[in-house]
Symmetry: C2
Subunit: 259 residues, 2 copies
């Protein structure tokens, strides 16, 4: 939802410029300035989320993340990974279990690479190992990003997030969602109203182009799932940490000025 | 554990033959007969598990299975898949969600192929979709096999089985383990005593030889996990269906003669 938020903001900027009868050059400069402003705000938002989220991480913690919500996905340090980067920079010893995140493998390809670049200790696992390592691996918290968050705190995020949230709940492990206020859609009362994009079956039936399943079978490939707010311990935004009940906390935090 | 059970039985057969001063040809014939007898017994055991397990499947049911425990893994119709085959042959309309089962993809490569051969409707999913489809896909029961079952009903099986069991529990979906009595190790009091084989990291860092993760990162690759008996609704053996408490039911069922 924050992609559309940014597009709307750019269109508003362009519409206002158009009404002022500017030259094409002036219009281009204005639109570019707005885009750079959004990028700068995104960097600042990432830093805020990182600083707020790092307060939830203790020295020595083992963490788990799913998909990629880091520097490769934002203009700054990311969302879910920002608290991890900040905690690491604060000198906290942490270790991150990284779900590979089938079918597109954002965890194996992107998150593992990012953490490796920053010398943050990590262990790559297949998605189906999450429960086993929650039971035996000493995982103290889960950090994930979000594609869209409803007013009640329901979270749409990469497929597999819901399974991780349920497993964390059963193992009494805090499940933190990290996302800027631009991802929170206060007009959406709950997550079950979100239509789920169905992606191409070959993303599942093949891995990066190599067929791994028989030809002609039925395949499901929902791009994301919805995690009900009951499984979300807290939502770390750029303007503060929202606690349940989210109906109250999200609107209070995200309606603050200064965005 | 049933591989070692079969090896021990073959060694006992050979030792007995050796004590009887038979010729090499006579010894070979005796050992071959014993092997064929085990295969015939395995076929019969699969049929028994299938018939017993099919009683747990209703017409119209949507099921989920993990890994491959079918005709490709046994001398007969398999363990977890046997009830599915029998239910299908009884004319019940069923649909099976098949976990792809990373890292080795036994679900995508083997189970999907087996079910396709038998014209049983299936949907292949990535492992991390199991929770989502338990919530939305109408899944009525989970069937899995087992590598080893302890006397208290704890089940060692392919990595990811524990996550599926926890998810099934939270969604109030029965979780059935199907295995012959030769898989049940009554000398093992509980599953947490089972050492877990750690396999080569490249099985996770690559998919069938194609690298999917950065070089030099740490990878975990436990071959299986242990599902505590609390998550197991019933254990379908070749000699009967064991219900909790398993300490009593497993020893009672598996000590019956006629194996």
């Amino acid at each position: 939802v924050n992609l559309f938020w940014a597009i709307e903001r750019m269109l508003r900027c362009a519409a206002q410029a158009a009404s002022e009868q500017l030259s094409l050059q002036q219009l281009a400069a204005l639109v570019r300035d707005e885009a750079l402003k959004i990028a700068a705000e995104d960097r600042a938002a990432c830093l805020n989320m990182g600083t707020l989220g790092a307060s939830l991480i203790q020295d020595g913690d083992v963490l788990l993340t799913h998909c990629n919500a880091g520097a490769l996905a934002t203009a700054g340090w990311g969302t879910a990974l920002a608290p991890i980067y900040v905690a690491h920079n604060e000198g906290k010893q942490i270790h991150v279990f990284v779900d590979e995140t089938r079918p597109i493998l954002q965890g194996a390809r992107l998150t593992a690479w990012e953490l490796q670049q920053e010398n943050i200790p990590l262990t790559l696992i297949t998605d189906n190992m999450a429960g086993h390592f929650m039971r035996w691996g000493g995982i103290k918290a889960v950090f994930v990003g979000a594609d869209r968050i409803a007013a009640n705190g329901d979270v749409a995020n990469k497929i597999g997030t819901y399974s991780v949230a349920v497993l964390a709940h059963v193992h009494h492990i805090p499940f933190y969602v990290v996302a800027p206020c631009s991802t929170i859609d206060l007009k959406l009362s709950c997550g079950d109203q979100i239509p789920i994009e169905q992606r191409h079956p070959d993303e599942v039936a093949a891995v990066r182009g190599m067929k791994i399943a028989p030809v002609g079978i039925q395949v499901a490939n929902p791009a994301f799932d919805v995690t009900p707010h009951q499984y979300v311990t807290a939502i770390v935004t750029d303007k503060g940490i929202a606690q349940p009940p989210y109906d109250a906390s999200l609107s209070q935090i995200c309606s603050q000025s200064g965005s």
